[in-house]
Subunit: 250 residues, 2 copies
């Protein structure tokens, strides 16, 4: 894994094919030339979530676009863990942190959830999608998670596939600890992690979640964690015990 | 653990003894009366890191102080995990996040570390200590972690006790995964977690760390994590596998 680090790494929509050219849009051209001060002939890294990660050389830099010549496959696309994150947005800055961290931690899809104590007036999925792209570029992910529009808790639970395990992080839960719960699940490849709003779920919401057949309820320790800390902690444990953090020795 | 939640929870220096009185300072009196709009006779929660957590009643509120009558022990003081965090500060906002999250995750002592790629011009331990107090108040911790002044990496490694395990989070490490490494350590009660700056340690620094007898080197997965994400992930795994997150079922 001691790969070389390139200073510019961008997500683009276009297909990435060896010895072909791709066009960077105005914003990306500005970032590459003005912010990062790259010049024609210099290298950058591109990925599109489908074709792996490629090295490219800048061929032309204009104000409204730039051209990149694709020259070398750095990493092939690989299968990623199928993890959904359901979280209840409260404050804008926390939502941004959650999107960023969930991206770093390899989540495939993020669904903001409307609960009784959610405050989601300012939730804009489109803006959050841009934050996810930036986090993916910087974390060297090969994909970008999909950010969905906000959904009601009932709807999220109703839409949950039968073969997807729901990891429910329960504040003040005195049942089994996280390692016991996650370590004992076998044969599951599809996961969802549900973290509530600050102030928690209502008793009724909690009962509804825990009555799901797919729910695995766990405790994240004796202290009260902020929502973004709980998201990171739960995703860390899931990746470490069941996801792609295990593969280092295999 | 289904304890009642009180809206105001404050850390103070004074001894907490049943049926005695304690004085809140000007800043705390302002917070209690003006921000939280508490009135004489109402309750709040106090802790000092030594005497457990106590319920108190507001007896008097003035501009420069407030008096609280201590009436009931809510939780006795308990032994906490002995975990030190060594981190290399880079940006101010990240340092604040790291202090807050490490506090939520139960760290006992935080030592900022000067490395080749550290940028610690604006590191003020005193200000960080206030952030740790606020995070302890909100996370319902019974103690506040101690924030030390910044130390050089060499000094930190030299001062490490023989019986303290050093958990080294190594970017791009292709050795053993985190669960295998942490799960296999036996008989250790004193821990330290070392997370590098963004940009990483230099090769020489890395060699020096890994040559410590107490070092346990682990990978935090295939993506590049920001420093604050790595801190949260490492502390989560340590608490879940060796620390106080295991106690829920015992």
């Amino acid at each position: 894994m001691a790969q070389k680090q390139y200073s510019v790494r961008l997500f683009i929509d276009a297909d990435l094919i060896n010895d072909s050219g791709v066009v960077l849009d105005r914003a990306q051209a500005h970032y590459v030339s003005t912010v990062m001060r790259k010049q024609v002939g210099e290298t950058l890294v591109l990925f599109n979530g489908r074709d792996g990660e490629w090295l490219g050389h800048l061929q032309e830099i204009k104000k409204n676009h730039a051209l990149v010549h694709i020259t070398e496959l750095l990493r092939p696309q690989v299968e990623e863990a199928d993890i959904q994150l359901f979280f209840a947005p409260v404050k804008k800055i926390q939502t941004s942190l959650i999107i960023q961290k969930a991206t770093e931690l390899g989540v495939k899809e993020i669904i903001p959830v409307q609960t009784i104590r959610t405050n989601a007036d300012r939730m804009k999925a489109e803006k959050l999608q841009l934050q996810a792209i930036e986090a993916a570029e910087q974390s060297e992910r090969l994909t970008v998670p999909i950010i969905q529009e906000i959904q009601k808790l009932d709807q999220v639970l109703k839409n949950l596939e039968d073969d997807r395990a729901l990891v429910f992080c329960h504040e003040r839960y005195d049942g089994k600890d996280a390692v016991s719960v996650l370590g004992s699940v076998k044969g599951i490849t599809k996961w969802a992690v549900l973290v509530g709003p600050e102030g928690g779920f209502t008793d009724e919401e909690r009962k509804r979640i825990m009555s799901c057949d797919q729910a695995h309820t766990l405790s994240l320790g004796p202290r009260i964690l902020r929502a973004e800390t709980a998201v990171i902690a739960a995703l860390t444990l899931l990746q470490a015990l069941q996801g792609d953090w295990r593969s280092a020795i295999n």
